[in-house]
Subunit: 221 residues, 4 copies
């Protein structure tokens, strides 16, 4: 079994300068180095929601995460995905087992839920039940395979907590939309962990853009 | 438990005439009724892969299907989706149980698999195992809920064979791409069943476009 | 010569109900008629920027406008376009001649321009100059054609004020983005005239969505 | 006045290896170096039209070209653009003057035109007329500006042969679609010149992908 997964930046073509130059082309201007006025320009673009200058870059991530996390991730249509296939390959017994502090209860209304940790004993009990259910599912999966059931059919018993793996290539504008939604208070805890990791890579490669994103409400422009 | 699901055309704005008129606007021409020359034009557009005239229409489908089918469906990015949420709502115990003739074995290589039905006894045995695994999963799900585990976390034990539900709005160009890939020999049997249903609605509302799609290799233009 | 152009709703599949039902599918719920709670839901979705439920609809417009307007219009990538072709067809001498009140001067800085009408005499003088430049351009165009220069080459002398014609099919989410940007104070006067017309059709077919759009800042969700 | 324009690769994140690895993730496999089997895989993906593995890369181009070329270019919606603005900046007198060999006549039917060069004298005559029409247009433009007409309005007299400038960021899948359509026999000569230049950069950075593109019909997968 396993933890929440893995996030790795596989390749990147991104800097703050490209934001500035793709905006300044309105004036047929181009700079080679980022100055004070350029940082102000980035702030202006973010504040006024001029989004297109943030698209001239690319981040490629390699992700390993539970299927229920991947399902939320793949809803982001502006970007490219290639994923592990349960039709072509056998799943190994990797699935997300929450830590005790991850086991929470939920109160409040849709869009405004409050999540609080369960007591430790209850949490441990839940983890045991989850683990047992996983075991049954993967056992059944392997039995079906051993009786020559096609992989694509045998997998239907596997839990949405099972791990999958994919590449994701995306530009900063779409990335900010992902970060905005998936690091929010009301995002699911598990995808939030990944979104926080994604944001670190973004902040590292486009620090002034990231700063402006933070300063102006953490919304994609 | 349940069968493969449900497909319903919820709304539609589509006819062959819009294909013709959006092509003829190149010449600032417009017709009010479909003539012989117009059908030839549709054939020409399909054959030469001029795709944009096939975009000026919309189909809205309401779909109920297993999660593993939905996952393939949602890979089609040119279109709109809204889906049932396991964060907001409890899953009912609905999941895909294959019929004996659906239980198959797989030989050959990726991209070139051959699928053949298992013998009846083996198939029935597989169905029993699948059903039992589902029962365990849904039972665990309900137990977790009864111990106040949040819905969004409890669901991680549910199988990808569980049913979900969504709306899908799409234009004919993207629809033909879906039909092309998902009715193909090497598409998974379960999504093929849906894609065949989708194709019937397409054929009914855009009969000449559908005919041309068939005549020219069943590829999206 | 001619005025600003033409806007016509060619087909539509849109209502407020589809917004509600595509949102309520999160709960596997569906209503057949719009109630008070549903209107509140539309407001909630708009305020919280949940955009996807606004995508399950389609508007098809037939537009005739100057090329410089079409160029701004075609920057909106989420939507479908087919346009008149100067490679296939001859341009007729249709081009945008501003009315005196449309002839303005510009002060201030990019993103914050102030436009004010020129005095009437100056405006009339400008209109004369524009008309004369158009005449020269179209005359040269016809001369080139009469000397057997290919249409696609001859057109290079035509002004961006010349009229073109296209179909545009778009969903309400993308439409709201268009309206938001193109009816704004700092949008160019000529595209604003079209955007105002587009908004009227939107308001008519999705009145509660339009009301919410207005109440929550006229930004696309 | 000026020639056809400029094309420059401004930044790139692209290689054949990313195609292979994003395909092999179906099998949870990853290679660090391109081998024989990998090249075969690229060929297989291209032949079978599996397009998504070709999306995990990015090319950013800086382009200067006539407006009528840019208009065809911007029809390619899968990609990012930022362009010179005639609302914010004054146009300099740069516009496309064809060389004698570029001046052609057109026979045949739409979609099947034949283009042949005009005789030299006729060609030179056409060039003179084009130049004169440009001169009148730019002169009127400057006059309007000198009478305080707003830049955004004054520009309406400028020809579609005038130069504009933009950044374009695009992945290899969309790039191949552009190359396929815009280097074709029936593409307009002027955009073909650019598309040929674009293809050279593509071939240099993804040589095996480019080879496969050529071997399997020069269609985007």
């Amino acid at each position: 079994m396993s933890d929440i997964g893995m996030l790795r930046l596989d390749a990147v073509m991104a800097d703050d300068l490209s934001v500035v130059n793709s905006a300044r082309i309105s004036f047929a201007k181009r700079v080679e180095e980022l100055g004070e006025a350029d940082i102000n320009l980035i702030n202006y673009l973010m504040r006024e929601r001029h989004g297109t200058p943030f698209e001239h870059n690319a981040f490629r991530f390699h992700v390993r995460c539970p299927i229920f996390v991947a399902r939320e991730w793949f809803r982001h249509r502006i970007g490219s995905f290639n994923e592990f296939s349960g039709r072509y390959s056998e799943f190994t017994q990797d699935a997300y087992i929450p830590e005790p502090q991850d086991v929470r209860t939920q109160t409040g209304k849709p869009g405004d839920y409050i999540y609080e940790p369960l007591e430790e004993e209850a949490a441990n009990q839940a983890i045991k039940q989850i683990t047992k259910a996983y075991d049954t599912a993967f056992e059944t999966y392997r039995e079906l395979l051993s009786h020559n059931v096609a992989k694509e059919l045998a997998r239907i018993v596997l839990p949405v907590g099972a791990h999958t793996e994919f590449y994701w290539t995306v530009n900063a504008r779409s990335l900010m939309n992902f970060i905005s939604l998936r690091t929010a208070e009301n995002a699911q805890r598990e995808i939030r962990a990944f979104a926080v990791g994604v944001e670190e890579h973004f902040a590292q490669h486009m620090p002034h853009t990231w700063q402006a994103f933070n300063d102006y409400g953490r919304k994609a422009p």
